[in-house]
């Protein structure tokens, strides 16, 4: 009968011992990847909630809303980013990057969004990474967000800033909108220089297109409110120019 000879000899071949090692390696790697994916989903979802919280800001409630948002962000850092750090276990940051990159991008988006609304400045990668240092156990190499994920998160930030700008104009805060406009212009311009150098920049290129669209939306909004204000100033006459310029 066919194949009689071949199927028996294999039971305890010397190869099997070798392959047992490979098996362990692959199993552990896959388990780790799964844990990282799960931790990442929590980071993503809760970072999104922080972003929504910031959008609840209006002229009158800014401090309260932002204080809550910062609290929520701190909770994301302490509860969920720390879990991600733990699951990553101090290694394989690059190997498993695809499993957590979207979460980290969303986290960067939330953190930089909070900072801009609070202080009008860009939260630096170094600052974020400094805040992550305390999360990992002493013995482990701490997770440090890489430049690529930071920049990808920043690209998404500009979409949120666009929404914010439109809202601020409705709320009468034209100067705030103009500040956002300048900020997004700066980021966009800086990124144009960096994009071609980024690893796998296909994704980033798409985000740059979206970013330009967002920027144009902000600029168009500033344009309409500007000509509108200008017409108003003319209508009211020179005596009444100043309060309008202040707005």
């Amino acid at each position: 009968q066919r194949a009689m000879t071949t199927s028996t000899a294999t039971a305890d071949s010397p190869m099997r011992e070798e392959f047992a090692k490979y098996t362990d390696y692959l199993n552990q790697l896959n388990d780790k990847r799964e844990r990282v994916v799960k931790a990442s989903r929590d980071v993503t979802m809760n970072s999104k909630k922080v972003i929504f919280q910031v959008h609840r800001m209006s002229k009158d409630n800014r401090e309260d809303v932002l204080a809550k948002a910062e609290n929520d962000l701190a909770a994301v850092t302490d509860q969920y980013m720390s879990k991600l750090v733990k699951e990553l276990d101090g290694t394989d940051f690059w190997k498993l990057r695809r499993a957590y990159t979207f979460a980290v991008q969303e986290y960067v988006e939330a953190a930089t969004f909070c900072r801009f609304c609070k202080a009008g400045t860009l939260l630096n990668l170094a600052e974020i990474n400094a805040s992550l240092l305390s999360l990992s156990a002493e013995s482990l190499e701490p997770l440090q967000i890489n430049v690529l994920d930071y920049l990808l998160g920043l690209a998404d930030l500009t979409g949120e800033l666009m929404r914010l700008a439109i809202g601020r104009i409705s709320d009468g805060e034209v100067e705030y909108a103009e500040k956002i406009c300048r900020f997004v212009r700066d980021i966009y311009r800086e990124l144009t220089l960096l994009v071609p150098r980024m690893d796998d920049n296909f994704e980033m290129k798409k985000k740059m297109d979206t970013m330009l669209q967002s920027l144009v939306k902000i600029e168009n909004a500033c344009f309409s409110v500007h000509i509108w204000n200008h017409e108003l100033a003319r209508a009211l006459g020179p005596r009444f120019m100043s309060p309008v310029d202040e707005s």
Binding site: M15, E18, N30, F93
Partner: protein, 229 residues
């Protein structure tokens, strides 16, 4: 001002990304040489399909191993400057590594009849230090590529008159296949390659029995045939 602090940070990124861009360019140059070396080694080894294997053929192929070792050394050198970023650039030399593994393991099997295990492969390619190793999935993929050569080898050897070859290959491939089955593979590239190994195994088997029923192998007569003779 806010704008200048933004600028400063981005200036830092620019430097960082330029550096990593340079790393990629340097890797690219090495990988292009690796591709050439792999191609040469492949060409040399292919001669085993057209003649009975002989030391000359194997020796010539082995020369390229040293070349590859040096090139991997070059890669390791580059990567040493970016600690912990092996997997950032890994995709850039992946397919050449897999091809290299398939060739050195095929060569090793031709010489010894045994599988060159991961640690030995690392050593042969000079990858044995802890910083720059041979990724296990790349090693396993290389093994699958090697397996793809075996049916062709066996067909050509039989045509060239070596009737004992199928048995030897069949034993080896059966063991290898059975060892592979221990792995839990994700639904990915490696699993697809492993599926191909099943077809290799079947083809080798058919050749083995083709030879056997015709009573061609040494000491391999099957009963029916034997009786008939």
């Amino acid at each position: 001002s806010s704008s200048s602090s933004v600028e400063k940070q981005f200036e830092g990124f620019r430097v960082h990304l330029e550096e990593s861009g340079n790393v990629r360019e340097r890797i690219r140059a090495v990988v292009m040489e690796m591709e050439g070396a792999v191609r040469l080694m492949h060409s040399s080894l292919l001669l085993v399909h057209h003649t009975r294997p002989n030391p000359d053929v194997l020796e010539k192929a082995k020369l390229q191993i040293e070349v590859l070792k040096d090139l991997f050394g070059g890669l390791a050198q580059i990567l040493r400057e970016c600690p912990g970023q092996y997997y950032r650039y890994h995709g850039d030399w992946r397919s050449e590594t897999q091809a290299a593994v398939s060739l050195i393991t095929f060569l090793h099997w031709l010489e010894t009849g045994n599988l060159l295990v991961h640690a030995e492969a690392e050593k042969k390619l000079g990858l044995d230090n802890s910083e720059f190793g041979l990724d296990i999935e790349d090693y396993l993929t290389g093994i699958c590529f090697m397996s793809n050569e075996l049916p062709r080898y066996v067909v050509n050897q039989v045509t060239a008159g070596d009737y004992d070859c199928p048995k030897k290959v069949l034993k080896f491939l059966t063991d290898l296949h059975s060892a592979f089955r221990m792995l839990n593979l994700r639904n990915d590239f490696l699993r697809k390659k492993f599926d191909g190994m099943k077809y290799d195994l079947r083809k080798v088997e058919e050749v083995y029995y083709d030879v056997k029923i015709r009573g061609l192998g040494s000491g391999d007569s099957i009963q029916g045939h034997a009786t008939q003779a």
